[in-house]
């Protein structure tokens, strides 16, 4: 058992009929490490996250979470991980407090009510606690999703575009919350985003995914220079346009 790594993917592959959504993807995340998963739409980022969450079954390859092969461990293993995604809304017809309490029970939190109150305070959601979730602004909903994602104090956090469609001020607030939480609790994070500045600011390592395959891997702050590009965004565009060139490197 490899407890030095929060997450290890080995040759992870997902095929739909003849289409390979994810093609032999391998990487790991160490405790305290934030890894960015980049790629154009349809590159396989969300499918990779969904396989780690256990809601999509891989065609082949292995997923290890905290050294445990997850093959026969779902859904119990999900008590150690959590996620927030732009497409996974919290039920709009429950209040913020009700939603968090229900997820507290789902994740087996002892003294769930107390944990919910702590989180409401930490994420400055107290004044919205009894408001229906559907009435919150996008920024408040994102904060709530993040709050739910931390309810079980996960050792691995999966964030699929957590700041998409948010204004810069709210994005920065959410980023800060996540980074400070990661540092404080030494958790591993897999973070997808189309905001290259965000990735550069928070990630220790990035993986460029295209057509289901990892084309490049490295430090987001040094990679652009290594590939003779002005910045990460330029590198991203070049990879998205001409994946075959980078695929051979």
């Amino acid at each position: 058992m490899d407890r030095d790594k929060v997450l290890t993917l080995k040759d992870l592959t997902k095929e739909y009929d003849s289409f390979k959504a994810v093609d032999h993807v391998s990487f790991f995340i160490a405790p305290g490490e934030i890894v960015g998963l980049l790629g154009p739409n349809g590159a396989g980022k969300t499918t990779t996250i969904n396989m780690i969450l256990g809601i999509v079954k891989p065609t082949s390859g292995t997923i290890e979470i905290l050294g445990r092969d997850t093959k026969d461990c779902y859904p119990e293993i999900n008590s150690m991980i959590n996620f927030a995604a732009v497409y996974a809304h919290m039920p709009a017809n429950l209040t913020v407090r009700q939603n968090l309490y229900v997820f507290g029970l789902l994740y087996g939190i002892k003294k769930a009510k107390r944990r919910v109150e702590e989180l409401l305070f930490d994420f400055e959601l107290e004044k919205f606690a009894d408001r229906k979730t559907g009435l919150l602004s996008s920024g408040e909903q994102s904060r709530l999703q993040l709050t739910k994602a931390l309810i079980n104090q996960p050792e691995l956090l999966l964030l699929d575009e957590p700041t998409a469609s948010l204004d810069p001020a709210v994005s920065r607030l959410i980023r800060r919350k996540i980074v400070s939480y990661a540092k404080e609790h030494n958790i591993g994070i897999l973070w997808t985003s189309h905001n290259m500045q965000e990735i550069e600011a928070v990630c220790h390592k990035v993986l460029f995914l295209s057509h289901g395959r990892i084309l490049l891997e490295g430090n987001p702050r040094t990679m652009p220079a290594e590939y003779k590009k002005k910045d990460l965004e330029e590198l991203f565009i070049a990879i998205a346009r001409e994946p075959l060139i980078f695929g051979n490197q």
Partner: protein, 269 residues
């Protein structure tokens, strides 16, 4: 199975129902209308003249029991649809929640609303029409238990269809009680049906219940054939529940392979 996770599904539904009066109305209003309407129809039929046969006793009792079963089936469907409408399936199945715990939570919710519905209908029938559902004696317990089990199996069947064919298959689920009522002898004896429908009725558990109910009320006696009918009905209901549960788990696993749970929100299926 962990109780807190099953409770989470139950509590979520209770939060939903209690926070919105229109949901309460949608659950109970139709039942009330059904009881009142059938009560008056039965009273009218009785007034046409039959001193030896009480329409109210036969029809109203059948309506109450049938609505109880329908409430169980639709309670499971409603709970499942809530999770689809609110795009919550991905949150649920990406948590430690086991599929069996999810199903149990839905059944607990539908059982609770089913029992409350039954009590409301029974009280209403008593208050307006002087009908006492308990006049069939302790047999009410096995009758309701069997209808509960069969209602659960039908609830699981319709959510399996939705899981298999996508959210747009929802419309298949709502009319199930209506279709089944044709073959269940709720309002008329099975012998009234054409032969082919009668054959089909033999594999529908409630048909034995309603035949037994009529026999008890018309003859006033509890003979061996009642027990025989109850046994067959219970056996069939358990078989249906086991079969539909296996089918649901199978479809769930297929959905994991096809990646459908993650895409279910989009109604793309």
């Amino acid at each position: 199975m962990k109780l807190s996770r099953t409770a989470a599904i139950f509590i979520r539904q209770i939060f939903l129902i209690s926070s919105n009066p229109s949901r309460l109305v949608s659950i109970f209003m139709w039942l009330i209308i059904d009881v009142v309407q059938w009560g008056f129809i039965s009273r009218y039929l009785s007034s046409l003249g039959s001193d030896t046969f009480s329409f109210i006793t036969v029809i109203l009792g059948a309506v109450i029991l049938w609505e109880f079963m329908s409430r169980i089936q639709q309670g499971i469907l409603m709970g499942f649809m809530e999770d689809i409408w609110t795009q919550n399936l991905i949150n649920l199945f990406a948590s430690p929640l086991k599929i069996k715990e999810y199903l149990t939570g839905l059944v607990m919710t539908s059982f609770t609303t089913g029992i409350i519905s039954f009590l409301i209908m029974a009280l209403l029938a008593g208050a307006i029409f002087g009908y006492n559902i308990l006049r069939i004696g302790l047999l009410i317990i096995p009758f309701m238990a069997i209808l509960l089990i069969f209602g659960i199996s039908m609830g699981i069947l319709v959510i399996t269809m939705i899981f298999k064919f996508g959210p747009t298959a929802e419309w298949l689920g709502w009319p199930v009680p209506l279709v089944l009522s044709l073959f269940s002898g709720v309002f008329f004896p099975i012998s009234t049906l054409p032969e082919w429908m009668g054959i089909f009725a033999m594999i529908i558990p409630p048909s034995y219940i309603f035949e037994a109910l009529r026999a008890i009320i018309t003859t006033g006696s509890y003979d061996y054939s009642i027990m025989q009918r109850l046994t067959i009905s219970a056996f069939l209901s358990v078989i249906y529940t086991i079969a539909t549960s296996i089918l649901f788990l199978h479809v769930y696993k297929k959905n994991l392979e096809k990646g459908n749970i993650a895409r279910f929100n989009a109604e793309a299926l």
